[in-house]
Amino acid sequence: MLRTSVTKLAATAATGAVLMAAAACGGSSSTSSEASTSAAATTAAAAPKAKVGLAYDIGGRGDQSFNDAAAAGLDKAKTDLGVDAKELEATAGETDAQKEERLRLLAQGGYNPVVAIGFAYSAAVGKVAKEFPDVKFAIVDDAVAGPNISNLLFAEEQGSFLVGAAAALKSAKGNVGFVGGVDVPLIHKFQAGFEAGAKAVKPDIKIQTKYLTQPPDFGGFNDPAKGKTAAQGMIDAGADVVYAAAGGSGGGVFEAAKAAGAKAIGVDSDQAKTADPGVQGVIMTSMLKKVDVAVYDFIKKFVDNAVVAGPTIYDLKAGGVDYATTGGQVDDIKSKLDEYKQKIISGEITVPSK
């Protein structure tokens, strides 16, 4: 009995794995060939101005969130600036040594500049940048310092302040929710800004907060089912606007909001455009974190020979964060939101980041 059932199980698992693998490979190979043809089209005229090495965090190109935003910036650089690029992605549960090796491979392979996406590369960039003093490195979301490291940082709390204000203005019940992907300092910035914005509009507003997973479990950035459950709980407890600062888990938040007739707020990209078409209607606005702009800017500076080491902060003033107006659902409160925006830019309002 045991023997036959185990054999069957193994056979099913093996077939399944092969099929899924074939599908996965098919998908990624088609995107990479698209990317390379578009690059070839532009580089045919002139030799590439730079060979960009880009190291993604877990998920890589195609995660519909953070990494994809970086990929969009890289694609724009390929078409507009005529650069060549090589993209490598991380695997789950890897050590710092593996991240270092990835950056070394790129630097040694003649890729310059090298861009690392995500704070997980902090230690690796710090170490490898020292070994290759002639290569320019950039890291998104981390402040590791070095003479050849540029830090692309975002004022997520400022963008979150605006969507927090929007949530409070739109909430009929005076009750809003915050769904954070993983309980890490980066997401705490989103929460702090959101709460400050909501309270600026309505000091006695009720704000419900929930983080989907605890580190080192980073699954909360890519678990729509958990997002849905969390959002449902908040809506049941009276919330009518929910902010999903949870990467790929946001899809579940949108579904829950749709089912209950509530509103949702997207994150990173303009999710009223990028989310599943069925739920786009519930996304009243999104907190835009323009990783694509930062990545493109950095590559452009490199091509122009104007790279500066140290932090560049993409805040409201620099247009690095913003709120989205797709769908026209916040048009009626736009003047109020823009007023807050001006106050933050002028320094009249200081948004807390913790």
């Binding site: 050590t95 090796e101 990835r102 300092p185 580190p215």
Partner: protein, 369 residues
Amino acid sequence: MNTFLNRLMGRVKLGGLLAVAAPILAIVFAMLITSVVLIAAGKPALDTFGWLIDNGSQPRSIVNIVNLGTTYYLAAVAVAIGFRMNLFNIGVDGQYRLAALISAAVGGAAVLPGVLNIVLVVVVAVAVGGLWAAIAGFLKVRRGVSEVISTIMLNAIATAFGSWLLIEHFGTVNGNAIATTPIPDNAHVPAAAIVPGTQLGINTFVIVAIVVGIAYAVVLSRTRFGFNLRATGRSEPAAVASGVSVKKMVLITMILSGGAAGLIGMPELLGSSFTYNTNFPAGLGFTGIAVALLGRNNAVGMAIGALLFSFLDTSSDILQLHDISPEIVKIMQGAIVLSVIIAYELAHRYRLVAEQRRVSRELLEGAAA
């Protein structure tokens, strides 16, 4: 007791040529599966294997393979200690993460100087791993709770408990990472740059892994405790009949398995990161299960398996440089584990059938004569 499970756990040995044929058959079969996947994806299979071997034989890669393999080997031994007794310690993952976190905090406090601090960190890690595993052992002995269920649950609890400890007590926020206080320079395990052609050093914790491997082999095959452990794994009633206290064995084995799990995070903590942070590698316990199966719970087999897995894992970037999806590495690892299981099973069945034929032939000859 020549059952599938006993064969899977390496309790039944193959003799002679078959013992050599099975692993070779497995590797050939795994390469075939991988080739089919590669060709289906429109990638050159032969070139891919060439790139893998080329990358794996670079001096820098060799160092990385050995260092990562050290970690995988410790994980495999921790799992195998339980496996040999039919104890499925799925909780190795939670045990090592909690152990690494608490020992990192103790090491960062630097209550002892230099080498003594290293020893303290390792002792704390082993103790924490053992204690966490003991919960599952205790539940099994006292309440009959399946260790598979309890250790999986304890993994989740370890994650939540670990975050609470890190965020509320041990950790300080540094940019976007939360990390424990770094272990001071004088308590780092040195790296030995002994591979010519690279400055990268082999983590000297590899010595500890070798010692653990030898101890595992010797205790299991040369001591009374090892005999009792294996006997309990083969047949519980027979073990009871010969005076083995199964409950005591369960508890001790679980603690040993957890204690070994405590060592998994040590090469990374003492040789590379020097701190436990939110990016500390997770999931090594599950890699350990695969490597233990691959190595058939044999001390040398697991070492080969650990190196094979780390070789494949360090190849993921080089494949991407050639526009091959890094997922191919995971497929290869899965294919190898399945192939090894299938190849050994085929070899065992072949031997059984061959024996039966021989016996029946002899009987026939005897009847004819």
